[in-house]
């Protein structure tokens, strides 16, 4: 194996991980907004799992399936009410093999 497979897109990095996704029950939700706040917009580059993206209309969207449950978005965006952040139901979400 060469050195190249080590440098993958974040989606491919997440593919190595083990998840039990709670379908239809995302544990993080972005609150409706016209224009994203600075912190919410920052999540589009800051989320280590690449869960946040900006839609064509400028709003920030979230797909939480690959979430690593680090809490970075909670630190930045929960206090001002830009997102809601819960833990996944017991047993669901990221299941670290090594951690």
């Amino acid at each position: 194996m060469g050195i190249e497979p080590q440098f993958q897109k974040v989606e491919e990095k997440l593919f190595q991980n083990r998840y039990l996704v709670d379908s239809g029950q995302p544990h993080i939700k972005v609150m409706p907004h016209d224009k994203p706040s600075k912190n919410l917009l920052a999540m589009t580059h800051l989320c280590p799992a690449g869960c946040y993206s900006q839609a064509e209309n400028g709003q920030v969207e979230l797909t939480a399936d690959g979430c690593l449950e680090c809490g970075t978005c909670r630190i930045l965006c929960e206090p001002a009410g830009e997102i809601t952040w819960e833990y996944p139901r017991g047993g669901y979400g990221i299941l670290f093999k090594f951690g």
Binding site: I3, Q6, N17, L68, G71, W85, I94
Partner: protein, 434 residues
């Protein structure tokens, strides 16, 4: 609905929670431990280094059974520029002692073992159970927790919040606030698998010996942060972490930062050909002494990362977590033995024990360090590594210039840096270290 009432409910089966559950259960208390993961460790991430002394105080014979990766015999500090690193390496044969001082561990394996020890002492563990909120009585005393299991109210005399840096319960109950963005670092890490012999050859190690590399400099793009490389038995943990507030301002993604670190010419050969089997991210409490919240109240105590117990200078987190969990358990046991209630006044004993221990003493020693590292980030992580690297290159490279001329070049570079505040930074650093 669990009808019986427990002496204590422990939230979380990480280092702090397991230490607390083990200590209380082994003293005969009725302990229930809640873990939201599939098994203890499945939600936990660490570099990770285990400090033997703090675990010995809980389980003296842990070396016989605990899943340990490699005993650490060498520490490397790297000051990095884009193409170079200036290093300080410390290796000592004394670290090959019979009872080694530090080990690398893999948390999902270690936490499962640690939790099993607590269960063998009588603690009851409920996995796949997320604690949703604390239950209080009419006098605001915490009397239990509600979980996501059906009818999930469970009662206890005291709740030990060992819920981690991103714990929700304490913040929801307004016992502590959500950590500030400049008080936490986001670290990303990959597990790179290689045969044990390859790791040993690349790092000059014998079987079961390990080493740690901690790296700072241009790798963090002017942000307050560190890279790390830890050798496990058949894998290498490679990661990098920076303060969240810095990340928010800087446009780089955590994965780019990690990949750049991995591509650095000093790092790439160490992990070449490896197979990556996991990518993890986690927050690290970095606020230090000044960020420690109120740690006890009527019916509750806070332990581990949830209490911001991390010594950022020495990269010690898990041993502070274990010790805070053990001390909370000992305080609870003492109060229980006197047949007294778990009031705020009585649980102040936990804080007193912490103050008397290395946990608070070490955090107090470095109380000004987090702010200093953060305020002088551009100098410390960009300017000074370049200076040191240039001075080293000037010393080593033979190019016909006279040695007097070379020394003058180096001195001139350092004089220029005085304009950036080199001397002020040196004084502030010395003060913060004192």
């Amino acid at each position: 609905m669990i009808e019986e009432k427990f002496d204590a409910i422990v939230i979380g089966a990480g280092m702090a929670g397991n230490a607390a559950a083990y200590t209380m259960a082994s003293r005969g208390l009725k302990v229930l431990q809640l873990e939201r993961g599939e098994y203890p460790g499945s939600k936990n991430v660490q570099g990770g280094i285990l400090y033997a002394d703090m675990l010995e105080k809980i389980i003296p014979e842990f070396r016989d059974e605990a899943p340990l990766e490699r005993r650490l015999i060498e520490q490397r500090f790297w000051f990095m520029t884009d193409k170079a690193h200036t290093g300080m390496h410390y290796r000592n044969d004394d670290f090959n002692e019979e009872r080694p001082n530090r080990y690398t561990i893999i948390r999902s394996q270690f936490d499962r073992w640690f939790s099993r020890q607590a269960q063998e002492k009588g603690a009851i563990l409920l996995c796949e159970t997320t604690a949703l909120e604390l239950i209080r009585d009419g006098h605001d005393k915490v009397i239990g927790v509600r979980t996501d299991r059906s009818g999930g109210a469970i009662h206890a005399d005291v709740v030990v919040l060992a819920e981690g840096v991103n714990g929700l319960l304490g913040a929801r109950a307004e016992l502590r606030s959500v950590p500030a963005a400049d008080h936490v670092a986001l670290a990303v890490k990959e597990m790179h698998f290689l045969p044990a012999e390859t790791i040993e050859a690349r790092f000059n190690l014998k079987a079961d010996q390990g080493l740690v590399i901690e790296a700072a400099g241009t790798i963090s793009h002017g942000m307050t942060g560190m890279g790390f490389i830890y050798t496990n038995k058949e894998s290498i943990s490679v990661g990098i972490g920076c303060i969240v507030a810095d990340f928010a301002k800087n446009g780089i993604t955590p994965t780019q930062l990690l990949d750049n670190f991995k591509k650095h010419p000093s790092v790439a050969p160490l992990i070449a050909g490896s197979e990556v089997k996991e990518y993890a991210a986690h927050l690290i409490p970095e606020g230090g002494f000044k960020a420690v919240p109120q740690l006890f109240g009527d019916g509750w105590v806070i332990c581990g990362d949830a209490g911001q117990f991390n010594n950022a200078v020495h990269k010690e987190g898990s041993n502070l977590a274990m010790t805070s969990g053990r001390l909370a358990a000992e305080a609870i046991f003492q109060i229980k033995s006197r047949r007294e209630p778990m009031t705020k006044a009585n649980l102040a004993l936990y804080k007193k024990m912490l103050d008397d221990s290395f946990v608070m003493k070490d955090l107090r020693k470095y109380k000004d360090m987090p702010a200093l590292l953060h305020n002088s980030a551009a100098n410390l992580f960009l300017t000074y590594p370049e200076l040191v690297s240039k001075a080293m290159e000037n010393f080593v490279r033979v190019d016909g210039k006279t040695k007097i001329e070379k020394e003058k070049d180096t001195i001139r570079n350092f004089r220029k840096a005085r304009g950036f505040g080199l001397i002020g930074d040196a004084i502030r650093l010395a003060r913060a270290w004192r």
